[in-house]
């Protein structure tokens, strides 16, 4: 991706040059799809293996924050698309405005993600030494959940532990009650490892995208992008939409699948 819009020697036409850049971007995005695909596969297999713990752990996420983030990201995809349109129709001054809006929305997404991560630390659901998926359903409501949330979570956690205990009894694991609790915690921890791994990798892509946007905005204010030359806007736009697509799958898979249990 060069910065002037002039024709390079290896291409016949500017059209061919731009198509090649876009094709190359798509090839890169395909490798990204396969990269995330491996994580989605890991998630699918583990969810298939531990549906109960994954369902309960998934319901511990904040649906409101996840929903808000989905809306924010989808709107940011729209503003990105509008910046591409502004460039294609040579509305030079509009290009950086739409890009700036995209950057702001991307930042809002990351801020909400920070709030969510902080909540996970407070709720002891970050994988590691302090992990305890039963913490919030303990007596006195230590996470200050609403009464309904607290009752639902308590019921779900108890059901999950009972199911794990029953399995431990069937398999003659010995001390089935203790095994039930630790098995539930282990499998919930698996869920939260995948949650942090997948949303963390997604957030990393957002941060990279935000960096690219900053560069684009500077170029945009210099009036670089118009109908003749907008390859960087188009291709970084493709990347931004790809990151949106990843979230379109992460949101239902991580936040929604077992909501009906409540």
């Amino acid at each position: 991706m060069h910065r002037t819009g002039e024709l390079y020697g290896q291409f016949q036409t500017l059209e061919q040059q731009k198509e090649s850049a876009t094709l190359g971007m798509w090839v890169f995005l395909i490798t990204e799809i396969l990269f995330f695909g491996g994580l989605f596969m890991t998630y699918t297999i583990n969810r298939h293996e531990f549906p109960t713990a994954f369902g309960v752990a998934g319901n511990m996420l904040s649906l409101n924050l996840g929903f808000a983030n989905t809306i924010v990201l989808i709107v940011s995809s729209f503003t990105m698309a509008m910046s591409v349109w502004s460039a294609q129709t040579s509305r030079k001054s509009m290009v950086p405005i739409w890009l700036l809006l995209t950057l702001v929305l991307g930042s809002v997404f990351l801020c909400i993600k920070v709030v969510e991560y902080k909540q996970k630390f407070d709720h002891h659901t970050v994988p590691g030494y302090h992990f305890d998926a039963t913490y919030c359903s303990g007596s006195n409501n230590p996470c200050a959940l609403s009464q309904k949330e607290f009752d639902d979570e308590r019921k779900e956690v108890q059901e999950a532990i009972a199911a794990e205990t029953e399995y431990a009894e069937q398999q003659n694991f010995g001390n089935a009650a203790a095994t039930g609790v630790s098995a539930f915690n282990a499998h919930a921890q698996l869920y939260f490892s995948l949650y942090f791994g997948m949303t963390g990798l997604h957030a990393l892509h957002m941060i990279v995208g935000a960096g690219l946007l900053v560069w684009l905005i500077f170029q945009g204010f210099k009036g670089r992008f118009d109908a003749n030359y907008n390859t960087p806007v188009e291709n970084i736009g493709l990347y931004w939409h790809f990151v949106d697509i990843v979230w379109i799958f992460l949101f239902p898979l991580l936040y929604l699948i077992n909501r009906h249990l409540a």
Binding site: G55, F78, M82
Partner: protein, 127 residues
Amino acid sequence: MAAAGEDGRYMVKTCMAEHTEHIVSPKVYASVLAALLIGTVVTVQAAKINLYQWNIVLALTIAVTKMTLVILFFMHGKYSPGRTKLIIASGFFWLAIMLSLTLADYTTRHPEPSRSQVVFPSLTIPS
């Protein structure tokens, strides 16, 4: 356009590029945005109803629909040249091969009964 030309060749090619590029109108973008927002609300509301094994199917169907809209319109997939479409399709085809073969192996290899027998009473599908 006329501002470009150190040489005539550059100017001509520039004009060609302008004529062939398909520009998606803001109306289309706004419609896609509306569809995506509606899809998000629908998927959240649908998740709260107990549809047993169909919850995941419905959630993924909506997600795939949303992804298709983003690729076709926001990412200009619909207006891309054939070879770009081929690259996009082959990428997803390859992903499908990887996922299905892994799952085929995983779901048939287990000698022991799967742990997925450990389920909620409320997850049990009524017969």
